[in-house]
């Protein structure tokens, strides 16, 4: 076997989404019998690259060569046919079907024109065993499995398709350490069998262990390719970053020791197995960050404050008085004055087909109406104020909000809540998938609101944001607050160390330092919105 001959080549691949350039003349070569790691920050173009390879999106220009002849894939099925199989971050399993049904879904074994269930069972058991997941029952429904098991099914499913090129996109992000070890064994065996593997991960130690070849992507271009081990972690991080963050954050106020009573306080908040005895305070004018790996209970904590969770134990206090917040309607009411900027603006924040105007005034309609009739003039005044305040770029107030860019959509969500002049603002990873310019505006807005007296609780998966924006950061691990960092203590080193629940001094910095929380998270990461 000649490992130097590329099995698959991509040349000059470009792809744009609206005005956003996801890939710009990207090149990639894949050789059989090797593991090729792809590195890059969120939004560097990795996801688009593999979507092009896997037939999910068509490139605007460029060509792909398989075995030396040009190919193009009209659909994932066509890519599969050619032997390219991808394990996506977003799971591609059908929830109502069984594990075995899912494993053979692309090409079920047939007998007399019908699916041969015995053969299907056999294939599924073999594939599960190959993936080191023989403990999963082939007849179990996928929707009943926990996330880490689903990820293993996903890997078994890919193996059952007998791929020549296997792409793993953050495939280990939801796995336990024991599963990761098994999968590594499987991947090394596949490499020995002559498969070409593309491995996308943020975990430097995984890449160090597995990869033969590395390619770094930045801003849609492949900026460097090198043999694994030939560059230090720090050099790699430099290649990935290529930009400076710090200047985009507004200055923090020099803080006098808090003497005012906290506006928002939690005492021993617990909920199922996701929140464990959380106590915290947020004062007026303060920006408190929530850190830690993704999926450690941060989202649930915000939902608990906002009245979404049932069966909560512990106390929530507003202005020092215990309150029962039974619903979001109550949380946003005048007595509490809370606002939640949700994580997924498309489903929890906006009604995409409705107009910008309607979306903006939804949360404040009760204040703008008398006896159920909306005061249009007052509505217009408030909307104009908000559009100006947040510099929302829109072709008009009466176009569907779905037509705006991601950053402007997020501004609409925020503006909608600011119209109620909330005293307590909860933010759930609000900058996910929006451009740097808009991010900067949001940081400044956040600080401005705090200066006007708002109490802000800010969850972010981006450590730079926590460092740049927060007066204090609480690091969560497994549903509990593991560490509180104040002022100058908020450093990458401290954030990462406490996020991994290890002591700061023992933490090897270097490569890990610039990694975002999401990449090391328990739950699978979601790609940035285009």
């Amino acid at each position: 076997m000649d490992g130097a001959v590329p099995l698959f080549r991509m040349e000059g691949i470009s792809k744009r989404y609206g005005g956003v350039r996801a890939l710009e003349k990207a090149e990639l070569s894949v050789t059989p019998g090797s593991i090729h790691a792809i590195l890059g920050e969120n939004g560097a173009g990795k996801s688009t690259l593999i979507k092009v390879m896997a037939g999910v999106v068509a490139p605007d220009e460029g060509r792909m060569m398989l075995d030396g002849s040009e190919v193009s894939f009209a659909s994932p099925a066509a890519a599969n046919q050619a032997g390219i199989v991808c394990i996506f971050q977003e799971l591609s399993l059908v929830p109502e079907l069984s594990v075995a049904d899912n494993i053979v879904i692309s090409d079920p074994p047939k007998r007399f024109g019908m699916i041969d269930r015995k053969a299907q069972r056999r294939i599924a058991e073999e594939a599960l065993a190959r993936a080191g997941a023989a403990d999963i029952h082939p007849l179990a429904l996928v929707k009943d499995l926990p996330l880490s098991r689903r990820q293993m099914v996903e890997i078994a499913k890919a193996l059952a398709r007998k791929p020549r090129i296997l792409i793993l996109d953050e495939a280990t992000s939801a796995l336990t350490a024991a599963d990761v070890a098994k999968i590594f064994g499987v991947l090394k065996r596949l490499r020995a069998e002559g498969l070409a593997l593309l491995y996308i991960s943020h975990r430097m130690n995984e890449i160090a262990e597995l990869a033969d070849q590395c390619t770094v992507f930045r801003n849609g271009r492949n900026v460097a390719s090198y043999a694994a081990g030939s560059k230090s972690d720090n050099e790699v991080v430099e290649l990935m970053i290529g930009r400076e963050y710090s200047h985009i954050f507004p200055p923090k106020p020099v803080r006098a020791p808090a003497i005012t009573a906290p506006v928002l306080e939690a005492r021993k908040l617990s909920w199922t197995d996701r929140l464990d005895n959380i106590s915290l305070t947020v004062g007026a004018g303060e920006v408190v960050g929530l850190g830690g790996l993704d999926g450690q209970g941060q989202r649930e904590l915000l939902l608990a404050f906002f009245g979404v969770l049932r069966g909560l134990s512990g106390q929530i206090l507003i202005d020092g008085k215990p309150v029962a917040i039974a619903s979001p309607a109550k949380a946003r009411g005048d007595r509490i004055g809370m606002a939640l900027i949700p994580e997924d603006r498309k489903t929890e924040g906006l009604m995409l087909p409705m107009t910008v105007r309607e979306n903006l005034s939804f949360a404040a309609l009760d204040r703008l109406s008398r006896a159920g009739i909306i005061d249009r003039a007052a509505e217009q005044r408030l909307i104009d104020d908000m559009v100006a305040l947040l510099a929302i770029k829109t072709a008009g107030l009466d176009i569907p909000v779905g037509a705006l860019s991601g950053g402007n959509q997020q501004k609409v969500v925020i503006a909608k809540w600011l119209m109620r002049q909330p005293r307590i603002i909860l933010l759930n990873d609000p900058t996910r998938g929006i451009d740097v310019g808009t991010k900067q505006e949001l940081y400044q807005l956040m600080r401005k609101l705090a200066d006007q007296g708002a109490a802000i609780l800010f969850y972010s998966t981006d450590y730079d944001e926590l460092i740049g924006c927060c007066d204090r950061v609480l690091v969560l691990y497994d549903g509990a607050v593991k560490r509180e960092l104040v002022g100058a203590e908020i450093t990458e080193r401290a954030l990462i160390a406490s996020a991994l629940n290890i002591h700061g001094e023992e933490m090897p910095v270097g490569g890990m330092a610039k990694t975002s929380a999401r990449s090391m998270a328990k739950t699978p990461a979601r790609g940035a919105d285009a």
Binding site: V56, S75, P76, A77, N80, F88, L91, S92, L93, V94, P95, E96, L97, S98, D101, N102, I105, S106, P108, K110, G113, M114, I115, R117, H137, L139, A140, L141, K157, W271, T272, E300, L303, V308, L309, R310, G311, S327, E348
Partner: protein, 326 residues
């Protein structure tokens, strides 16, 4: 867990519908003046299979997370057509049957083509096509009338060996010839997968379009089999608007009773058949207990509400309110 437990979990909806039907039917026959006799079973069977066929048709579409509001009208259209064509010599009758079934298949295929390739919503599409199908039925039979090959009709509505209702045997045959192969075929699985998570199915390279198309087309065929049987029972064709609508709505009720999820991806036509038979038995129950027939719609509604509430119990256990909306 053992294999049988997984099987049981999968068949829960079907078994529940079966249980409801058995309980109701037992109450019915034990209070019937004639008791559990071949005659009583035959009558019940003949009444029940019509809705059972239409409910099977509805199931296929509902599995793909769609809905077919034209099944009742295909049922009427094929009834009217059969009252013209299924008559005469053996050969002529056979030709008529094939033509009627082919018409049903075509109606279903048109629905499928519009929904899948035209990308229109199933609910709007089938309201429109349903109106068209009813219009054609009305042109075929402006007034009730026509006739049918009575030998065939009597054979299929009578009893085999003096005991087993022939219509029930026909229903079983259709299950074996249409439903079982479909549910075990790649296309059937594609229909389920598309109903459960169309995106995951697409990403897995599943033939979603063909699967959904097959589901819609076969739904038309099953509704046509129902229409054929309606002709065998009544010996005539009639474009009765109210009846067509009632069958459409009852088929949805039967599907829900039978444990088929309206969100798609889950359930079986066998469950829907028991759902249909149970739904039909409600009327019979009122009869044996000497209730005024005027009470029938009210009772059917109440029973349906109770049955669907059983499926909603899981919501009480939800601890994150956002899961209500998933």
């Amino acid at each position: 867990m053992k294999d049988w437990r997984y099987w049981l979990a999968e068949q829960r909806g079907t078994l529940l519908a079966f249980g409801i039907f058995i309980v109701m039917f037992t109450i019915y026959t034990s209070n019937h003046p004639a008791g559990f006799t071949a005659n009583v079973v035959q009558t019940a069977s003949n009444k029940g299979v019509l809705l059972a066929f239409v409910a099977m048709a509805q199931t296929l579409v509902v599995i793909t997370a769609g809905i077919d509001l034209s099944v009742g009208m295909i049922f009427l259209l094929t009834n009217c057509l059969a009252s013209w064509l299924v008559i005469g010599t053996g050969i002529e009758t056979a030709f008529g049957v094939v033509a009627v079934l082919g018409t049903g298949l075509l109606c279903g295929a048109i629905n499928g083509a519009i929904v899948i390739y035209g990308r229109l919503q199933p609910i709007v599409t089938t309201i429109a096509t349903g109106a068209v199908y009813f219009g054609i039925a009305l042109l075929l039979r402006p007034f009730p009338g026509g006739s049918v090959n009575e030998d065939l009709a009597d054979a299929l509505t009578g009893r085999l060996f003096g005991v087993v209702p022939a219509s029930l045997v026909a229903l079983l045959a259709v299950v074996l010839v249409v439903w079982v192969p479909f549910s075990r075929s790649v296309l059937g699985r594609a229909a389920y997968a598309a109903g459960s998570s169309e995106m995951a199915a697409y990403m897995s390279g599943v033939p979603i379009r063909r699967g959904k198309f097959a589901a819609y087309a076969l739904a038309g065929l099953l509704a046509a089999i129902g229409g054929l049987f309606l002709t065998f029972f009544t010996y005539t064709g009639e474009a009765a608007y109210a009846s067509g609508n009632a069958y459409t709505l009852f088929s949805i009720a039967a599907v829900v009773l039978g444990g088929v999820s309206l969100f798609g991806g889950k359930g079986s036509a066998i469950g829907a058949i028991f759902g249909a038979l149970a739904f039909r038995t409600i009327g019979d129950l009122l009869f044996v207990f000497d209730f005024d027939p005027l009470w029938q719609p009210l009772f059917q509604g109440v029973i349906l509400l109770i049955a669907v509430s059983l499926g909603a119990f899981a919501l009480f256990r939800v601890r994150n309110r956002l899961e209500w909306f998933l």
